[in-house]
Symmetry: C2
Subunit: 614 residues, 2 copies
Amino acid sequence: MYTIDFEPLGRRGRCRDSMSLLDCARQCGVGISSVCGGHGTCGSCRVRIASGNVSEPTSREREVFTPRELRSGWRLACQTYPRSHCRVTVPAESMTTTQRVQVEGILAPVTPEPAVQDCQVRLAPPSLSDLTADAGRLLEALNQQCKIHCDLVDIEVLRALPGQLRSWDWECRASVRSGELVAIIPRSGRQLGLAIDLGTTKIAGYLVDLGDGDTLAARGVMNPQISYGEDIISRINASIASPDAGMKLHGLVIDAINQLANDLCNAVHVSTGEIVDAVVVGNTVMHHLFLGLPVSQLARAPYVPAVSRSLDIKARDVGLEIAGGAYVHLLPNIAGFVGADHVAMLLATTDRQRAGSIIAIDIGTNTEVSCISNGEITAVSCASGPAFEGGHITDGMRAASGAIERLRVTGDDIQYQTIDDVPPAGLCGSGILDALAQLYLAGIIDAGGRMKDNHPRIHRRQKQREFRLVSREERGGLPPIVITQSDIRALQLAKAAIRTGIEVLLNTSGITEQQIKQVIIAGAFGSYIDVTSAITIGMLPPLPPGCFRQVGNAAGAGARRALLSLNERAEARQIASRVHYVELASVPDFTPTFMAASYLGRYRIRNGKREEIG
Amino acid sequence: MYTIDFEPLGRRGRCRDSMSLLDCARQCGVGISSVCGGHGTCGSCRVRIASGNVSEPTSREREVFTPRELRSGWRLACQTYPRSHCRVTVPAESMTTTQRVQVEGILAPVTPEPAVQDCQVRLAPPSLSDLTADAGRLLEALNQQCKIHCDLVDIEVLRALPGQLRSWDWECRASVRSGELVAIIPRSGRQLGLAIDLGTTKIAGYLVDLGDGDTLAARGVMNPQISYGEDIISRINASIASPDAGMKLHGLVIDAINQLANDLCNAVHVSTGEIVDAVVVGNTVMHHLFLGLPVSQLARAPYVPAVSRSLDIKARDVGLEIAGGAYVHLLPNIAGFVGADHVAMLLATTDRQRAGSIIAIDIGTNTEVSCISNGEITAVSCASGPAFEGGHITDGMRAASGAIERLRVTGDDIQYQTIDDVPPAGLCGSGILDALAQLYLAGIIDAGGRMKDNHPRIHRRQKQREFRLVSREERGGLPPIVITQSDIRALQLAKAAIRTGIEVLLNTSGITEQQIKQVIIAGAFGSYIDVTSAITIGMLPPLPPGCFRQVGNAAGAGARRALLSLNERAEARQIASRVHYVELASVPDFTPTFMAASYLGRYRIRNGKREEIG
């Protein structure tokens, strides 16, 4: 029996020498990707042995890794057996989707310096010889007991104050923001903050302890506005079509966030009244709809937002049900289609001291890309559409139980792995990307995206070809899971939009692909994809795998940073003010660039090296 | 035909030499009091000839005035005929009630220095080469075109901004308060302010031009909370009895103020959206109910308010429907029963440079009295009740058309004057006071308040005596207008409460009656009373009539001062912080003082001199 430490998750397990590292990982709840089911053929369970002794490399591993990689400790978890206590590093790309969400915590820590000051006070009750009013009594105590100078009392706090002070026996915990009393809670309460990443499709919420910076609970829900359309353009159109729809869209998202805040609080047995500060990030349209601002001007040239600067708004003024006088902070927007969520992502991910050029991509229904080079930030926005989130793809589905998240084509055989290891129900974004790359590498589709007729799984239905990834027989009589010629066209448009954005940025910034030191990929989809597949289809430039950093919900992480620290808010303003926004449509060679970008890739990455395809 | 100028009203009329000054005044709309109907017997139409020639004094006038007074120009308007162009001064006490309201304007003017800065701007529309967001565009223009530094935009203003700027062709007038944009209106709009004196019984509203300080419209309405009880104690009790009642009382008063604001705006053809600032004053309970604060703690010792300090609250947070982001300022309270209205009254009336001791009284359902002496302010609150507003008095009524406002007893005959000179319907406060004083002087009631049985108008009904001021015959068959023994007892309690307050203040401040230089009487009732009657019944100390200054709705005037000037708000805070509040109930010799004060007066004022009664 050996002790195995899996990093960076910090999970520890006990392992017999008859168990592979993959078995051991599964036993202790570490989700390592395994497309082939542990036969050493797919190469998806790569790990690095940081210390300790393990079994010798198998012949399969010698095929997958270079001798240098093997010397550095790279191994396939399914082929490796421990021979002593070991420390095993699991890279993000080897983790299952559900596991990756937990990895986000690896982002740099931030020192709490919240917008809200905290003071626990004990007051002398009023008497005939001390007739000071309740509010004055409390403010005086804040000054004396915590050296907090506070001049203003929020009206909601004031309304509850006389009853609360009396029922809490003249003791409480007070939250003061810029000289204003924004909340009082019982003396034993906690000062909490709420960070929200408001996406077009999903809303991610984080409940944070403002004292120590810990994230107490995290949860994601669907954005209920989706019933008004999947992308931001349809949301804008809905709000233009009917005068009420704008406020209806506002109300929907507020209700969802209130429910989310409630659920987060219930999970850790606290009350939403203890949430004394909040930060919300989203793209410009989500930002505007959250605030109840009109969006029609975002649909007409020159696409200017109602407001770009950062905002501090009373939470109740947008309908958020948190502490009585609490504010919600909104990070600045950059332009009509590059919003506060991108600022948050840059805040969370870009090491500001770092030299060298960085590309930062937040992939979603709308994809924002920034290029940080020589202290300049240039940003574009790409209408990538919902294909990568499974939208408008025949058998596409959200990343839920049963979704195929990894896929390999080996001759006539298809190997795949589903979320939660249950029978397949459809393809989520990363599975769709793998399928496109694998069909291309197998010569089933050509570089122009045309499906050939050279494989027994290709069928013709409703006037177009489709590739049956899982047949009716394999599904026990259920309809087959397919990828159609139309699906491929939709994926080409989506990936071309993103690649065009990257190319335009490189041109504008005057740097070459080779000068890129790092590509940061954020967003749910971006964090789960196999980067090599993305390179194969030509969505990402063919750089060495070590250049890519998949950082999960970086916008959410940025929101939490801003929630925890006024310095981070200042930094976000700084970032936003430095960004040079490029309107893609106004770039002279947009059309040829887009046409070129719609072809599948010229290169694949194999064993860390780039090879020409074909 | 002579030209007659009536001052301080500034009204000019033309007069034939066959017309008395009284006739001339009536003809040009100057309301001079005339109880006896112009027969020279009541002495209520006193005026002073400031310049010009008039007829010789009649024998009636020689009875009413001293030779010195006649030499100074004092005359009865009904006995005096012009012989040249004249300037005639009409003292407040000779005016009818309706006329007096207009006199309030004589209070010292204030230089406008409003809380809200004004800027008319013209913006360049956005273009593909200037993508600045709407808010940023406007804030930049404020800085460049008006040197106004503005960082924040109210969320309601922001919501309307994109549509308004576009529909107004990128021109507007902006209101900025402490670096926050609180309103934008069309470029041709006016910046208006709303001042509210929120009384227990009545609400007075003033619409003010913040640019030049002019009061554009003024209006009074009943406080609809009256359905929950006439005095503040019953309002508090109502709000304690049912959890919803507090918010219901809040809602009632807000609805009434919104309606009042609407009416004021309609009267001068402006919109409530042009009201960019507001000031509200009221007693502490009204103040709390206006804000939606709990009041139960005001009913229990030690009667501390939820808040005393001055407040700036978003108008929408209390439900006021004025400009989107406008604030409402509340002057500070002094104690549980000395509120912001008293501070406003002191602000409006006390000449801060003036030497000598001043008593300032705001008579209402609750009466506040302050003594200003040697730079110290001491205040008390007296529960005077609704008797002076006609409440709980058999034939009492509000000061409306048909109310007897002046009354004289001459032998068996009763002379009176009604509001609007229509047949009598009842007695308003000043009429009640006159009645009590006249019955006392005529020996019909004794100093202890007991009604004798020595007059043909005295009758016995329902086990008590009553004096029929107007008989059934005189009313053409309608029931008689009476004053009963119970009425007299109620009036004694009311006047004793006020006199006790004055006595306690004098004792506390260590000054004597003779050291009082001025008695300022504010409030609707206080402005309409005959001061000599108030002295006769012992409600006010027997000082020379020249000491008394009846200033009308001084709280409303103070509210307007605070609306117009930040300096005045600072001064109000200064006043409130200097006030030493004395809790009447805790004064050691309260009971004997009150007992003594319930006796009717020992002195009357006759021809400006004090005489012992009896």
